[in-house]
């Protein structure tokens, strides 16, 4: 592996050579950037780290149900190095690749960070799996001809398209609609897809206010006032992490959820953390078929029970997506049956693999971007006072994802051609 310390110009060849020379007994080193500080650490970073830890331990012990019952990854043990995504993402990525010489990088939640490291993955020819970030821009404009970069979580497009379809299917009055989203790629894309979907589905909605506070602002009193005074019947938010939690804490006591149907596309991540503060009836998404929306399969039940036994609470969707990313990498690695990053990447392209959240297909973004379905439901407390979701409606992957030859914006603007929502 020392070859990889040579000049940058030789880096690509050295990576391949290094991989080919690895001994069967050498552990596979994964660099895992997750939020270990900041407002996203509690709701995102920790469950992701916990999800990775519990899965890697089980993989190394050969305890994961089929089809992942082969020990480790392709028979090799797996080791993880966790770094803080809140630090300089580019510098930390370079540290993982050039200093720590990890075999693959698996992580990232923030769309801004994903955009920052995506070109580096290709430049450094480093196998990289993006876990949770949602901006469709990654393979539509940032890296349009990817080789080493993959994203096993679906784009945010499914959240917005699914949210509009759910509002329609449940008969919510959408004559007056408002939005509050963070002012960066994630929030702007989410709102653009949401309003585009409103137009495409001809809901006839008037947009009463579009709020774009700074990410991690924390103080939303004025924004809540603006939403309250706007008279919106339905409100869309893609807030996540501490921002979503602060928004709930500041909006719920003022009755916003009683005045309007509020759809929170990442709301599931707050359910276990603020069970008594989220008003019942709030519309909850999990950015895919995760957690409360997961299928009843052996793999899903194993993951849920193993995680809960270890940490005392069920995994929230960030943990599910982390597990999904690692299992995708394992599936590709074992399909390639090689340690050569180029061969693993080739095997990853257009891969179809099983996860606790069902089947994932790397179907768009030249075979580097996953598609999955989405589900929404309304928040409720069960008889024991535990958070749950009711009135769940699921939409399959072909209903909420653009086809491979169109960008999300083009597909939405054209009125979802080819969408199969049966």
């Amino acid at each position: 592996m020392k070859l990889r310390t040579l000049t940058l110009g030789l880096a690509g060849a050295a990576v391949a050579a290094g991989g080919a020379m690895a001994q069967d007994g050498d552990p596979i080193e994964l660099g895992i950037p997750v939020f270990l500080s900041g407002a996203a650490s509690g709701p995102f970073g920790l469950p992701q780290q916990n999800g990775a830890t519990v899965l890697i331990e089980a993989l190394n012990a050969g305890e994961v149900p089929a089809p992942y019952d082969q020990v480790g990854i392709n028979g090799r043990q797996v080791e993880a190095t966790y770094v803080d995504e809140a630090a300089d993402p580019v510098q930390e990525y370079r540290n993982l690749v050039e200093r720590d010489e990890v075999d693959a990088v698996v992580g990232y939640t923030s769309s801004g960070n994903c955009k920052a490291v995506a070109p580096l993955a290709e430049e450094l020819q480093q196998l990289t799996v993006l876990v949770d970030c949602g901006t469709p821009q990654i393979f539509e404009s940032v890296v349009t001809d990817p080789t080493y970069l993959f994203r096993t979580g679906p784009t945010g497009t499914i959240d917005s398209v699914g949210a509009v379809r759910y509002l329609m299917d449940t008969g919510v009055d959408m004559s007056r609609v408002a939005g509050i989203n963070q002012n960066y790629a994630w929030g702007q894309d989410a709102w653009a897809d949401f309003t585009g979907s409103l137009e495409a589905l001809e809901t006839g909605s008037d947009i009463t206010t579009e709020q774009f506070p700074q990410v991690f602002a924390g103080q939303y009193g004025a924004e809540v006032s603006a939403l309250l005074t706007s008279g919106a019947n339905a409100i869309h938010t893609s807030f996540w992490g501490g921002d979503l939690e602060a928004f709930i804490l500041q909006a719920a006591p003022r009755g916003l959820f009683q005045r309007s149907a509020v759809v929170m596309t990442t709301g599931e991540a707050a359910m276990q953390r603020l069970p008594d503060e989220i008003p019942e009836g709030a519309i909850i998404g999990a950015r895919g078929p995760y957690s409360y929306f997961a299928p009843d399969t052996e793999l899903a039940n194993w993951f849920r029970e193993t995680y809960e036994a270890e940490y005392g609470n069920p995994p929230s969707y960030p943990a599910w997506k982390m597990a999904q990313a690692i299992l995708g990498l394992k599936a590709a690695w074992e399909k390639a049956d090689s340690d050569d990053p180029a061969e693993i990447a080739a095997a990853f392209e257009n891969l179809e693999f099983e996860t606790p959240a069902g089947t994932v297909r790397m179907a768009i973004g030249n075979g580097h971007q996953a598609i999955q379905g989405i589900a929404y439901g309304t928040y409720a407390l069960d008889d024991e006072g535990n958070p749950t979701v009711e009135n769940v409606i699921s939409y399959n992957a072909e209903c909420v994802n653009p086809p491979a030859d169109q960008t999300a914006a083009e597909w939405i603007e054209a009125g979802f051609p080819g969408a199969d929502c049966e």
């Binding site: 650490s41 602060a246 804490l249």
Partner: protein
């Protein structure tokens, strides 16, 4: 009319919060000439200490109204302890050094305290939302508004008046004002400058901690919450003029209403609203609205 009401309330509420988190910064600079970057960490410590104290308080099942007394006591104790430890333990050895060096020292302190917070409280979030919902909301002109937010406005006014009274009417305050005017002459006249500095720094820290304490019930208390605050606090004191208490109040009002108007009238520009005001003020008055005229020392 509803929108006008909302702008007036939201601007006032945000200005009050900004004043609480910024006034300590300007007080310390005015007296000690220390641009205290660690102010954001003091704010974060306030939020964490509040979260921990109220966590114990609610676990004990005590009456909810007492929580506000706990918040006050916690803010006072934590602020004084942290302020005196930092001032006596670090800063007093560096008095008389260049202001730029003091910026670097307090920046280092900020980083150390941020990590100390993670060491003590971990990276998991803390929630103490009960005080925010305790008094519910009132309808003002048809707009539901949390009583807690109105209490922050009242607190900022009371604290501002108390600070003014201390500076203008108390013996200690007069001596502090003398130190601001000329540190060497004050010392020659028998004023204990060291004591003035320690007291000022502790008071400034208490204000930062109060900011964190009153904010904790509205947010997820997590590592890193002090970063945004220090940037906003700097913007406020730069608008008002570094070192000026009235300047901090006016700066907070300018910034608060700029943000509220932007949110309600032009939300796309909210991100820039406060900094646009700062840029305009600095273009017209480079030292801020309330900067004192100062003679050049040879």
């Amino acid at each position: 009319m509803l929108k006008f009401t909302a702008i007036m309330l939201d601007g006032m509420n945000y200005a009050a919060w900004l004043f609480l988190v910024a006034v300590g910064l300007t007080l310390i600079y005015g007296v000690m000439r220390i641009l205290n970057i660690a102010h954001g960490a003091f704010y974060a410590i306030g939020a964490y200490v509040c979260a921990s104290a109220l966590g114990v308080f609610y676990a004990a099942g005590l009456p909810g109204a007492l929580a506000f007394a706990v918040m006050g006591v916690v803010a006072l104790i934590a602020g004084v302890i942290v302020g005196l430890v930092v001032e006596r333990g670090v800063l007093r050895f560096l008095y008389g050094r260049d202001e730029v060096l003091m910026v670097l020292v307090t920046y280092a302190l900020f980083l150390i305290l941020e990590d100390a917070v993670k060491l003590i409280w971990g990276v998991e979030s803390y929630f103490v939302y009960q005080p925010y919902a305790y008094f519910g909301f009132v309808e003002i002109g048809g707009l539901p508004y949390q009583v807690y937010d109105l209490m922050i406005v009242a607190l900022a006014i009371v604290m501002g008046i108390a600070l003014w009274f201390w500076l203008e009417r108390s013996r200690m305050g007069r001596m502090t004002t003398a130190v601001v005017a000329d540190r060497e002459i004050s010392a020659a006249m028998g004023i204990n400058v060291t004591r003035i500095f320690a007291t000022t720094f502790a008071i400034g820290t208490v204000f930062a901690v109060i900011g964190g304490v009153v904010t904790a019930p509205k947010i997820a208390v997590t590592p890193g919450i002090g970063v945004e605050v220090i940037i906003l606090a700097f913007a406020v004191v730069v608008i008002g003029g570094l070192g000026s208490i009235p300047g901090a109040a006016i700066g907070a009002i300018f910034a608060g209403y700029a943000r509220a108007m932007s949110v309600h009238l032009a939300p796309a520009y909210e991100l820039f609203a406060i900094y646009a005001v700062m840029a305009v003020v600095l273009a017209i008055r480079p030292h801020g609205l309330f900067a004192r005229a100062s003679g050049r020392k040879i």
